[in-house]
């Protein structure tokens, strides 16, 4: 978002401060999308990042053994609330492997034997001007205490964290029992963290795809106005 757009809208914002702006819960002309809700990061953002941090979590480095699980092509865009693609945004994902073990010394340490050593557990992708991101990972599975399978997501730009959230499977029976998902009081927010995991047509190994657009409410250039 360029400053020429941002500054007038900010003036408008300040000018309208005294009026009913805050009580009018409406969308404005240039604000088309609700931000993806922030959700808890959980305890297992990797404490030691893996050597391989690419966007293919199925294969670690040059290994010939793929991770166990349903291969999932996760794609989407990083957008501003006005729907503009955000360039140079780094999307990080992490999730437990098919045996429900996170890549984190406090989880994969005690569960070393259970762990799928071929699953990368964490990946990164930096967007270009289209704002698109892409990962090859596994379809998430439930974790003890978390009946709702989910993929953790963090979006950064430069040294700034824009959002931490989670992606859930639309229609999964565990969602209603999940403390994080069902604990989200806002019914619209609940909708914004769901993705359809649909079979890839003609895939012989049962791959699925999921599309998930991430809308960040905090614009990357916001900090220039805070200093």
């Amino acid at each position: 978002m360029s400053q020429s757009i941002h500054v007038p809208s900010r003036r408008l914002f300040l000018g309208a401060l005294g009026t009913a702006l805050f009580t009018t819960r409406g969308l404005f002309a240039e604000q088309l999308l609700y931000p993806s809700p922030a959700m808890t990061e959980g305890p297992f953002y990797p404490d030691k990042l893996p050597l391989d941090q690419d966007n293919d979590l199925i294969i670690i480095k040059d290994s010939t053994t793929p991770a166990v699980g349903i291969i999932t092509h996760l794609t989407g865009r990083v957008l501003s609330t006005s729907g503009e693609p955000i360039k140079d945004a780094t999307v990080e994902i992490w999730q437990c492997d098919a045996n429900a073990v996170y890549l984190h010394t406090r989880d994969s340490g005690p569960k070393a034997e259970q762990q799928d050593k071929h699953f990368q557990g964490f990946g990164r992708f930096t967007t270009a001007s289209t704002g698109e991101y892409r990962f090859r990972t596994i379809k998430p599975v439930p974790y003890p205490g978390r009946p709702s399978p989910h993929i953790h997501v963090k979006v950064k730009r430069g040294d700034r964290e824009l959002l931490t959230t989670q992606i859930f499977i639309r229609g999964h029976e565990g969602n209603a029992r999940d403390g994080v998902y069902a604990g989200t009081r806002d019914l619209v927010d609940r909708e914004l963290v769901l993705a359809d995991f649909t079979p890839v047509k003609d895939s012989k190994i049962g791959e699925v795809r999921a599309n998930f657009d991430i809308v960040v409410g905090r614009t990357p250039d916001e900090r220039t106005f805070q200093r």
Binding site: S9, R10, F13, L21, F22, R25, G26, L27, F28, Q31, L32, L33, Y34, P35, S36, P37, A38, M39, T40, E41, G42, P43, Y45, T81, R106, Y143, G145, R146, P147, K154, E161, L162, T164, T165, R170, N175, A176, R177, D178, G179, V180, Y181, A182, G183, T184, R185, D186, L187, V188, D189, R190, E191, L192, L194, D213, V215, G217, R218, E222, Q226
Partner: protein, 199 residues
């Protein structure tokens, strides 16, 4: 005189401490049990309807397919269009959302002894903080009408608190905390993150 001055200085300090403690108590108490949150800003059926009706561009009180410009909300719109006439009325929104709200409330709270698993404890930056140790809960942030800058600053402060809390507690304790919050009073882990865009 000097003595009195010192004494009144202590009184001031005491009063200030009392106010601070009082504020903390207010913040803690202001976070109602899960069941009381319905209808509050940032939660419940009414709030969701308001957020969705923001897409009613022509203000006719109905959401047409064309008005649902956010594809992420299209599946919800489809579920609400009970009579499949391509328009969603406020009544259709109300009945569908109420149904979904009840379904998840039942599941979320009434899971029996096992309860709602409760997620891995919140620790880190970005995400909404765990209810315990939450400095200013999201709904209160809304009530206080914090500016974006204030929210950002608060988020940074919360991040610090969360990180330090995570260092103090063992993973098991964090899990336990999360689970006990799932059953009893205290905010749900992921507070309403998205507010209506405002600028």
């Amino acid at each position: 005189m000097k003595f009195i001055g010192l004494k009144s200085w202590w009184n001031v300090r005491l009063a200030v401490s009392a106010v601070i403690v009082g504020m903390i108590v207010v913040v803690v108490q202001a976070q109602p049990p899960r069941g009381d949150r319905e209808g509050r800003v940032g939660g419940g059926v009414d709030a969701a309807i308001n957020r969705l009706m923001a897409y009613d561009a022509d203000k006719d009180g109905k959401l047409s397919k064309a008005e649902m410009t956010d594809g992420r909300l299209f599946p919800l719109w489809q579920r609400c269009d009970a009579n499949h006439d391509g328009e969603v009325t406020r009544d259709e929104l109300t009945s569908q959302l109420r149904k979904e709200d009840n379904a998840s409330n039942h599941g979320g709270n009434g899971g029996g002894p096992g309860g709602p698993g409760g997620g891995p404890p919140g620790r880190g930056p970005g995400g909404p903080p765990p209810g315990f140790g939450q400095i200013v809960p999201p709904f209160l942030q809304d009530d206080l009408k914090l500016t974006e800058a204030q929210r950002t600053q608060l988020q940074d402060l919360q991040k610090e608190v969360n990180e330090r809390l995570a260092k103090i507690l063992t993973p098991e304790q964090q899990q336990q905390l999360q689970q006990s919050r799932g059953r009893g009073p205290g905010g749900p882990p992921g507070g309403p993150g998205g507010r209506p865009p405002r600028q």
